[in-house]
């Protein structure tokens, strides 16, 4: 059995490596992605037209949330389904109702010192992490970042509360009801803005038609539309990241964590 596996892996690897030889060189201006087929080149179109089409300087964000908005919408849905799946598999309620922490808090002098150092450091760091995460979400048009990265950082800040204190302290700030509602709300915001465009008689996720809604011209409306769906992505990712941690670290009981 081991030999069959090894042969399969070696054959697949050889096939992949032989396919790598057919790739165009890195940064080759004549490759299909850069030079295009015939006169039309996709990447040239994005590089030259993104600024006029959407007023977004960061081409990556514009491609991700506007030109290929469908793709990002279903990526968000994949994360949502993954999180809901983990909650559905792991979440369980202890039979005896809610009890206090099983092992008492380490009250020795040495343990106390460690708790103080970690507690104070995290208390200072968490607001900075959260402000930076919001900046990454809001500034995704101009600099690297966007909904996914900012959402992961925001979720990680709540995970840090759970790690540095205990899961109850994190759940007091971000309860189970709240993260499930937030996860659903994020997907609903994304799909809702797409549907709004459809109701205004344009294509799904064609934000240009929302100029009346945002009180701007159609070009700026696409920029605002990108921001709106990025906020939706950030909501879902934040909630799901924390939900996965809370369920994994407490075996789905959401009582004490690590």
């Amino acid at each position: 059995m081991k030999w069959i596996g090894l042969i399969a892996v070696v054959l697949t690897g050889a096939l992949l490596l032989s396919a790598v030889g057919d790739f165009p060189d890195f940064g080759d201006p004549k490759s299909p992605a850069n030079g295009g087929v015939g006169d039309f080149s996709v990447s040239q179109y994005y590089i030259t037209h993104t600024e006029q089409d959407t007023k977004v300087p960061n081409v990556v964000t514009a491609v991700l949330a506007d030109y290929r908005g469908y793709d990002t919408m279903f990526e968000t849905t994949v994360i949502f389904i993954a999180g809901i799946g983990i909650i559905a598999i792991l979440r369980s309620h202890p039979p005896g109702g809610r009890r206090g922490p099983a092992h008492p808090i380490d009250a020795t002098v040495d343990g106390d010192h460690q708790r103080i150092i970690i507690g104070i450091t995290c208390r200072i760091m968490i607001p900075i992490i959260q402000i930076f995460a919001l900046y990454v979400v809001a500034h995704g048009h101009h600099s690297p970042g966007g909904g996914f990265q900012g959402g992961v950082m925001l979720g990680a800040s709540f995970i840090l509360i759970g790690l540095s204190r205990d899961l109850q302290a994190a759940l007091a700030r971000f309860s189970e009801r709240r993260f499930i509602v937030l996860a659903c709300l994020g997907v609903a915001i994304y799909a809702g803005f797409g549907l709004l465009c459809l109701l205004l008689e344009r294509n799904f996720l064609d934000y240009g038609v929302l100029d009346g809604f945002f009180h701007t011209d159609p070009v700026m409306a696409r920029s605002h539309g990108i921001f709106a769906v990025e906020v939706g992505v950030a909501f879902t990712v934040t909630a799901i990241m924390f939900a996965i941690y809370a369920n994994l670290s407490s075996k789905g009981r959401l009582d004490e964590g690590l």
């Binding site: 964000t61 690297p144 966007g146 996914f148 990265q149 990680a156 996965i244 670290s249 075996k251």
Partner: protein, 81 residues
Amino acid sequence: MIVAFDIIILIFLVITAVISLRVRDLLGATMVLSIYSFLMCLLWAEMGAVDVAFTEAAVGAGVSTVFLIATIYHTRRHSSD
């Protein structure tokens, strides 16, 4: 794109990938995997894909390491195979 830098990172990538598979201590393997993610992030940043590098740093090196440690904490620390 600096070729020498690329080659150094790629060599370390292969080394960390092999180590993370061979190490029997699962916590150690997780740490090595997090180093692998960080090297991957460096490689993306060096190739000019800053958005991808950012995601790799946040998800690969950051949160997924925490998830793996949280899981290992509730299972056994040593691999049986």
